[in-house]
């Protein structure tokens, strides 16, 4: 069974979102997602300032046998990316909710975060 923190919200495509307040958010992929992918060996991150609509491809993760896009759970503008992942993508496997965060963004669509799944809903969705 994978770890699913209670204070986060989740997208069907296995991203988590943390509401940092003041319209700012941080996202990553879930413990379940990293465990399904296996060890991540490469990552393509967006640039600071990139704009996304909800559901757009934000970047790509590559593991030994597979590559997967990750998607914007909310519309917004990228304010920071976790550049340390370019050298150490394994942080996503080791600490998906902490040092393995992917992107911070600001969104004026903050209300939409409540439309994402709760931890309990995500647990059911992931089949854990």
């Amino acid at each position: 069974m994978s770890e699913i923190p209670e204070d986060l919200r989740f997208a069907e495509t296995h991203e988590w979102v943390r509401d940092d307040g003041d319209g700012k958010f941080t996202m990553g992929i879930t413990d379940h997602a990293q465990s399904e992918m296996g060890e991540i060996v490469m990552i393509e991150l967006p640039s600071v300032g990139d704009q996304f609509d909800s559901g757009d491809v934000v970047g790509t993760l590559e593991a030994v046998k597979t590559a997967a896009d990750f998607y914007a759970p909310l519309g917004g503008k990228v304010t920071e990316v976790n550049e340390s992942l370019e050298d150490s993508p394994e942080k996503i496997n080791q600490d998906p909710y902490g040092e393995g965060w992917l992107v911070s963004f600001e969104s004026d669509d903050g209300e939409a975060v409540s439309g994402l799944m709760s931890a309990a809903e995500y647990r059911q969705h992931a089949g854990d």
Binding site: E36, E39, V41, M42, V64, K65, T66, A68
Partner: protein, 492 residues
């Protein structure tokens, strides 16, 4: 035995004797100028012929290949290829030609190319063929360039989206990007086929076309193919068939009749050249008369006097894809294969490929989950190791490694991406019943091990020349050159 060829090197050893020098010796420094000479030695290994032979034979023994046993790599058609066709392609009159010889001196080869083009058109139901592309992915690129040229000729440059199912081979989106298109993914339905409603919702003014593999990468025949192709045509797009899975259709079904506009064939898998050997491939493109004017030039033509030549014209060709005329050695083998089997023989190839796949599938479903059960499969099928992972913590990767211990090459794993813990099995038509049973017994035995003694599977392989490789490190710290050994340096 071990190490690289450089480890066998000793100063002064050699594998051949050159005759005495019969011209005056020249000092290279004097002739060329000292600054042009390299300072260090070349670092080439100095070995005898017998050392060289043993070194490479010992390496080749460690290799697993179709001449040793079943090679069920899904989507790859790793079938046995008759040695007769190799011998024919090596006849000096064929193999020793220079590509720039005048047409009059290579009539035989031109005739073979002309007739092969015609045979491939008849096998696929199309009107015209280019033998130029060097392999499947280049065939895809060629086909997409034909589509782009056709749209441009209609003044429809704005059509820049190519649709493809989420089960597509990775080369499809890559070829699209290379041809300047944007990729739009179409979902699969619960039967593993194109979700027609999703397709319909994604067609529009910007649709350039659809790329479809049929049978698809799940080994399932897209039974709505005519409806799908009709929808794309109605939206103003063209349809490309990835012919990677043609081994299921030979002599049975014509892509041209299914409504496709263009497809490529992999001669180096379906038509008697080994696949995956790193050697030359060949990915001819066949198309309908709509796209023919855009085919790359030159093509082989038959002159009025019955002789063969190379066309220089073509009304609006896309550019050359390859120097000269394609990989002709592969074409000889394909020509020999088609002629030696004939129409009925080709049909038997596909029917036996389908029969073998269905037999294996039926045996393996005893222990493995079927992600999509749409009735009989075509020439390959996909099972999932999800049950083993969930109940015993044994992943498909572990079972694939364990198969090596049993003396088999593993199937394709973790593809297509829409199936978790996927194992994609393509036995091909060249396996006997005993061979299929041997493989099924091995995989079922591994499923029992996963249940009873999972460490046997998660620790595998143990009977191979090397134990489990660190695949993560291989990707992160890729090093494909051997640093010069001490022995190699010593003889500089």
């Amino acid at each position: 035995m071990s190490g690289t060829i450089f480890d066998h090197s000793r100063p002064g050893r050699e594998g051949l004797s050159l005759p005495e020098l019969d011209v005056p010796r020249t000092d290279p420094a004097e002739a060329l100028g000292g600054e042009l000479l390299r300072k260090d030695g070349m670092g080439l290994p100095e070995v005898t012929e017998s050392q060289l032979m043993r070194h490479y034979v010992n390496i080749s023994i460690k290799n697993y290949n179709i001449d040793r046993g079943l090679y069920p790599l899904g989507s790859c058609t790793m079938k046995y290829n008759p040695k007769l066709h190799e011998n024919l392609a090596r006849l000096p009159g064929l193999s020793e030609l220079h590509p720039l010889l005048p047409d009059g001196q290579v009539q035989g080869t031109l005739q073979i190319m002309y007739e092969l083009s015609d045979l491939l058109c008849r096998i696929t139901g199309f009107d015209a063929c280019s033998l130029q592309p060097a392999a499947g992915a280049q065939g895809e690129l060629t086909g997409l360039l034909l589509i782009r040229s056709c749209l441009e000729s209609r003044g429809e440059d704005h059509r820049n989206q190519v649709l493809m199912p989420d089960s597509a081979h990775g080369t499809n989106p890559a070829s699209c990007s290379l041809a300047g298109f944007e990729v739009v993914s179409v979902e699969s339905d619960q039967h593993g086929m194109v979700d027609v409603d999703d397709l319909r919702s994604k067609l529009g003014d910007r649709t350039a076309g659809l790329m479809l593999t049929n049978p698809n990468t799940l080994g399932i025949f897209e039974s709505k193919v005519e409806e799908i192709n009709g929808l794309v045509h109605d939206a103003g797009g063209l349809v490309y068939m990835d012919g990677a899975n043609m081994n299921a259709l030979l002599g049975i079904a014509l892509p041209g009749a299914m409504g496709f506009d263009v497809c490529h064939l992999n001669l180096h898998k379906t038509f008697s050249t080994p696949h995956g050997g790193g050697g030359p491939g060949s990915g001819p493109v066949v198309c309908n008369s709509l796209l023919e004017p855009f085919l790359p030039q030159p093509r082989v033509v038959k002159n009025e006097d019955g002789s063969y030549g190379l066309s220089r014209g073509g009304s609006q060709p896309v550019g050359r894809l390859l120097a000269f005329h394609g990989n002709v050695g592969v074409m000889y083998k394909a020509y020999a294969y088609v002629l030696s089997l004939g129409t009925r023989g080709l049909e038997e190839v596909s029917r036996n490929a389908i029969l073998n796949a269905n037999y294996l599938k039926a045996r393996l479903t005893e222990a493995f989950d079927l992600p999509f059960d749409s009735g009989p499969c075509m020439h390959e099928f996909v099972v999932s190791g999800s049950r083993q992972k969930k109940e015993h913590g044994v992943r498909t990767l572990d079972m694939a490694k364990r198969l090596l211990d049993y003396g088999y090459h593993a199937p394709t794993v973790y593809f297509p991406l829409i199936v978790s813990e996927a194992m994609m099995v393509e036995p091909t038509e060249t396996e006997s019943l005993e061979s299929l049973d041997g493989f099924a017994d091995a995989l079922l035995s591994i499923a029992r091990e996963a249940e009873e003694k999972p460490h046997l599977v998660t620790d595998a392989p143990v009977n191979t020349p090397v134990l489990r490789l660190d695949e993560v490190r291989a990707i992160k710290e890729l090093c494909v050159t051997e640093p010069p050994s001490e022995a190699g340096k010593a003889n500089d």
